[in-house]
């Protein structure tokens, strides 16, 4: 699954730490999602879409092998 988290974070000028604090996870979790090492749960994806005021499909995109 591809995601635009890093780009959206840069647009909002948020650090990984700040974003992590805002949604109540560790910085490592944000880093892992950005690196595509970890696919977040629905709850976390919804929290992220709320922070960035974006639709979930604008943040996450399925790939052919998903």
């Amino acid at each position: 699954m591809k995601n635009r988290l890093k780009i959206e974070r840069a647009i909002k000028d948020l650090t990984q730490e700040a974003l992590a604090n805002e949604i109540g996870v560790s910085r490592q979790t944000i880093n892992s999602i950005e690196k595509n090492r970890y696919i977040p749960s629905t709850i976390l994806a919804l929290k992220l879409s709320k922070v960035f005021e974006k639709n979930i499909h604008d943040l996450f995109e399925l790939e052919d092998d998903d």
Binding site: A20, G24, V25, S26, R27, Q28, T29, N31, S32, R37, Y38, P40, S41, L44
Partner: protein, 137 residues
């Protein structure tokens, strides 16, 4: 307490302090025994030492981190799985080697307590390495 702590029935973070203080008990007993300040049987000290270490490792492994999220949850499960595999493989290999090479001096540290301690140590190593890998930018 968040949902993840509830899901895994993890203990609150302050249990880490209790676990670390428990580790001090066998250390203090060993020092007191070596300096002849107390006279207890050596076997009793070994028994207390092994069991307090085991209990403290268990407490450390089931105590939540300050930030416990779904990635930590996943890492815990992976680490527990790996440590169980390690424990079974270790147990099978040591029993086979004891059977095949009885004169080779069978390792005495294959008791349940030692296998469990090794499993916990393995669990912490795996958990730490996953944590470190996630930290890398």
């Amino acid at each position: 307490m968040n949902n993840i702590q509830k899901d895994l029935r993890l203990l609150p973070n302050y249990f880490k302090k209790i676990a670390y203080s428990l580790i001090l008990i066998p250390v203090m007993l060993a020092i007191l025994f070596k300096t002849n300040l107390i006279s207890i049987e050596k076997d009793l000290i070994t028994l207390i030492g092994k069991n307090t270490i085991l209990i403290s490792l268990l407490l450390l492994s089931i105590t939540s981190n300050k930030i416990e999220d779904e990635l930590t949850h996943k890492n815990r499960l992976k680490a527990f799985t790996s440590s169980f595999i390690f424990g079974v493989v270790f147990s099978v290999i040591s029993s086979i080697s004891n059977y095949l090479f009885p004169d080779f001096g069978s390792p005495s540290n294959t008791s349940t307590t030692y296998i469990l301690i090794q499993m916990f140590v393995f669990y912490f190593i795996i958990l730490y390495s996953m944590k470190k890998a996630n930290r890398e930018k």
